[in-house]
């Protein structure tokens, strides 16, 4: 693609039928394009003569046909998001109407923006760095409030600041080693490696901490993957329905009704959950059921949380033993269901096998549901998942670069332990420095920018 400063346009607001819709035009001829399809109420006013950060009121017109009432907000280069001339046409919402107005604008000299092109121009114009650009993408695509908050933090440069801090530490040490190589009279390396070891260890754990937030970052963006697991007819689907507040999964009294996994997204007290309801796990010869059981096991692999539902009215058996084996080393909440009927279950056998909070509920009456929600909130806010004031890595590319950087730092530690001369340390220190640089877009890369911007949603 040959990058030209041609003029682009796209609908900037989401696809919902909101009250106001915005179409953004950016580029060298944005003002002229807008003038061609907009008539100000005051006939003396033209967009082209309107100063930056001023608005003009009037009608969007296609030739002589009035399309809609609108306000045009003018931003002049370089004081706009893209650093180019920008006109934002604010008109009445409604997807179909917005599309028709966009068509008129395109007819008058703009072309439709490629995904991410506005942000790409902002980056190329030096307005934002790459982490900020990627955050914009995450924000647009964010599925919930928490993800939006994390994106906002990255956009403000919290991640950039953290990475910059680590990078400058790395660079200082490389510089010191190099100075000592070129000017041994004035720079001594006595005891340097020992000191560096401590510092690199600390830095590596900083990087690991950032990487740790990557897991949480993923949860925030997609919701916590919560798998409901249990024997057939333990009440998994009933529980899900209670949570969803409506009957969506099919519930019957016959064991094995849910033969596939079902996915639902639900907000529980502000925490996004992606709930995966599974087929009951039991020994079976039914080929369809067998597939369901395999699928349930598979969904465990990338579960952030497992809700294990035990039928309190039945005695534990081999199937329960098998499930508990699957749940080793996982984050689990145990629900003893059906407390509205007589209880025969031996809870001590469960606690002897899994360490996890246990709550008694009745999926039928809704009893105990509040306790479950509280437990969930507690785990999220007071446990490892605390998110207040933290920087989250919500982006796969950042995560890979951080892993690479950490690997390089670990190699520095290996080298020091092996007693390698200091000049060897700079090889892996520089590698870490460059890896971290790619997160900030401060390392010239041949294919990075295009790769990132091609992932953008339309219109921003």
């Amino acid at each position: 693609m040959l990058y030209k400063n041609d003029t682009i346009a796209a609908i900037a607001t989401g696809a919902s039928n909101a009250g106001i819709g915005i179409i953004r035009i950016s580029g060298e001829h944005a003002l002229e394009v807008a003038d061609r399809c907009f008539r100000a109420k005051n006939p003396n006013k033209k967009i082209i003569t309107t100063p930056g950060y001023h608005a003009v009121y009037g009608n969007v017109t296609d030739g002589d046909v009035v399309m809609d009432e609108a306000v045009c907000l003018v931003m002049r280069a370089p004081n706009s998001y893209t650093t180019e001339d920008v006109v934002e046409v604010q008109c009445h919402g409604g997807t179909i109407q917005l599309r028709q107005i966009l068509k008129v604008i395109l007819k008058n000299g703009a072309r439709v923006a490629e995904p991410g092109e506005f942000t790409k121009r902002a980056y190329l114009g030096g307005r934002i760095d790459i982490t900020q650009a990627e955050s914009v993408m995450d924000m647009i695509c964010a599925q919930n409030e928490l993800a939006a908050r994390s994106s906002a933090a990255q956009l403000q440069g919290a991640l950039s600041d953290k990475i910059r801090e680590i990078r400058s530490f790395v660079l200082e040490n490389v510089a010191y080693i190099e100075s000592a190589l070129d000017d041994p009279e004035n720079y001594s390396l006595d005891g340097f490696s020992e000191e560096l070891y401590q510092q690199v260890e600390a830095t590596s754990s900083e990087v690991l901490k950032l990487l740790g937030t990557a897991e949480e970052g993923k949860m925030i963006r997609e919701g916590i993957r919560t798998v409901i697991l249990g024997k057939p007819n333990a009440g998994k689907s009933s529980f899900l329905n209670q949570l969803l507040g409506e009957e969506r999964a099919i519930v019957t009294e016959i064991a094995g009704t849910t033969r596939d996994t079902l996915e639902e997204e639900v907000m529980v007290q502000g925490i996004p959950l992606k709930i995966i309801d599974t087929a009951g796990i039991h020994e079976t010869v039914d080929i369809v059921e067998k597939l369901g059981v395999e699928k349930a096991k598979k969904s465990l692999e990338d579960a952030d949380l497992v809700v294990y539902i035990v039928d309190g009215s039945r005695v534990l058996d081999q199937d329960d033993a098998y499930i508990m084996k699957l749940l080793q080393d996982r984050k689990v909440i145990i629900l003893i269901n059906k407390i509205d009927v007589e209880q025969v279950v031996d809870k001590s056998w469960i606690t002897a096998n899994i360490i996890a909070p246990m709550i008694e509920i009745s999926a039928k009456t809704g009893e105990g549901l509040q306790e479950f929600k509280e437990e969930l909130t507690k785990m999220f806010f007071h446990g490892k998942l605390s998110f207040n004031d933290q920087v989250y890595i919500t982006n796969l590319r950042h995560r890979e670069a951080l892993s690479e950087a950490d690997l390089s730092l670990k190699r520095v530690l290996d080298s020091i332990r092996a007693g390698m001369p200091e000049d060897f340390l700079t090889i892996d220190l520089m590698a870490a420095y460059e890896q971290l640089g790619t997160i900030l877009g401060e390392q010239p890369e041949d294919d990075l920018a295009n790769e990132i911007f091609s992932k953008f949603c339309m219109g921003k």
Binding site: M1, L2, Y3, K4, N5, E28, R121, Y123, L124, G125, G126, E178, S179, L181, D182, D183, E185, N186, R411, A418, G419, M420, P421, E422, D423, F424, I427, D428, M430, A431, E434, G441, E442, Q443, P444, E445, D446, D447, L448, A449, N450
Partner: protein, 636 residues
Amino acid sequence: MPQIEEQYDIVVVGAGHAGCEAALAAARMGLNTILFTVSMDSVALMPCNPNVGGSSKGHLVREIDAMGGEMGKNIDKTYIQSKMLNESKGPAVHSLRAQADKAEYSRAMRMTLQRTDHLTLRQAEVSELIEGDCKEAAEGSEHSVCTKRIIGVRTLSGGTYFAKAVILCTGVYLKARCIFGDVSNPTGPNGLQAANHLTQSLVDLGIKVRRFKTGTPARIDKRSIDFSKMIEQKGDEHIVPFSFTNTEEDIRREQVSCWLTYTNETTHDIIRANIDRSPLFSGMIEGTGPRYCPSIEDKVMKFPDKDHHQVFIEPEGEYTNEMYIGGMSSSLPEDVQYAMYRSVPGLENAKIVRNAYAIEYDCIDATQLKASLEFKEYEGLFAGGQINGSSGYEEAAAQGFMAGVNAARKIKGLEPIILDRSQAYVGVLIDDLVTKETLEPYRMMTSRAEYRLLLRQDNADLRLTDIGHEIGLIDEDRYAHFCAKRAAIEEELKRLQSVVIGAAKKNQEYLESVGSTPLKTAASLSDLIKRPELNYDLVAPLDPDRKALPADVIEQVNINLKYEGYIIRQQQQVAHFKKLEKKRIPDSVNYDEIQNLRKEARQKLSQIRPSSVGQASRISGVSPADISVLLIYLGN
């Protein structure tokens, strides 16, 4: 009035370290070459330190030797002490340095020049470049109407020497001025005649000229020095020749010693008390000096907390009493010099033979050059050495060599040889000079090379002999010898990989006896050599079938195995680096047409006209975002 008029293929202006290499390379490539010098007595002169090599500079010498340069051979003939520096550090920073007998060094180089076919030595001051008629541009070319050309030189006495290429290697001689205290002499180093006319010719051609300065310490009579107060610095027992054509046996000889002493607070007080008499501080010196090679007064003023600085006392040769006072270059007045030197232990009764002085000279902004060292604006005009803003004999020789090779290749209609930063220190040096604006004399340093584990002094031949052979400066005998060495290394590496040692009692006992751990499973010899506590020699008792191999083969085998992981990682970094280097920027690019470049980047790119996106990314003032814009413009 009748005037001399002669025709050559190549004119080289200046017979210092750059000029000698340029002229030798060109003549050896079969081109009719004339080498001008202001004085036949200053050919390959070492007007400052009496040594060749040192940290990273030693690498440059070995690199040009691998391609057929002369400096390595010449110092091997005339060294009086040899030392491998940094031996306690990794192999990447081992650096060879040899003390030279200065007079012998000059004499030997002059002899080599005079014995070379196609080469004419001529004492004369070149005062003017002759511009040729504009060469009509090829049809369809948009950006310049025609290419400007240089077709020869004129000397001060009026002689005209036409040539297909002119190489400027003027060193520190252009409008040179030597200064100490309030004494200012309009001469080159050592009172030699300066070249006072050529600068004007360069300026008239529109070439950007700047003024740099450097300096040298006093020389002191050996008989007036009390060496008992100093620490002796002997040469190495086992010496490594600079030239790959020599073995230790070829050049072994009796070595002389250097001596180490220190300045003290008294020295520093003397300097501080007289600093107002320094021409640097009084403003008499306008040129920019090197931060990396500061005068003693610079060091004292810039590092007030240091109570001493190293001083190396180095012989200038075997047939002279003059001793070089390394670390104490100065431009202070004569009386202060006496007081200052005499405050140093061992120099209490020092008699100065030559005063320390600073020297100012004209040089060019090397961003006007392509990586081939040809001027972008003038076809047929090349520059190498200190005129390009570098400092040091080795830096000069390396550039002179490349300029000579590329001028010759141009005449032969061949593509220039351009080494990149991952191939050689020579590549780093030239890339830095032509890409970054050098605001002070440029000195080679190990820290400037990103891939120094690959650019070792010990493997310069493996990196560059193929290129030297392609250029035509490595003859078939030497090349065959080199190929045999390379094959022997590969073969031995393969063999060590395939020989597997079992956990026999004898083997286990031996491993324990040399402080290693016994084997748990069978292991190859190469795996054993990779253990930090072992090496090629130490595993010999486990390797009865081992053939006797030359030391340089063993060295490569050992380094390749012991540092394998690091070498592989550095190679990966190089692969990454090459991606942007391979993206060429066509000469015809008009940066004004590329929207979205920042103004500063646009200016810098238009001025320097980088040949690749990689080079563009190293220009200061060009940001990664500008590089993205450029990549997208080029169609990525």
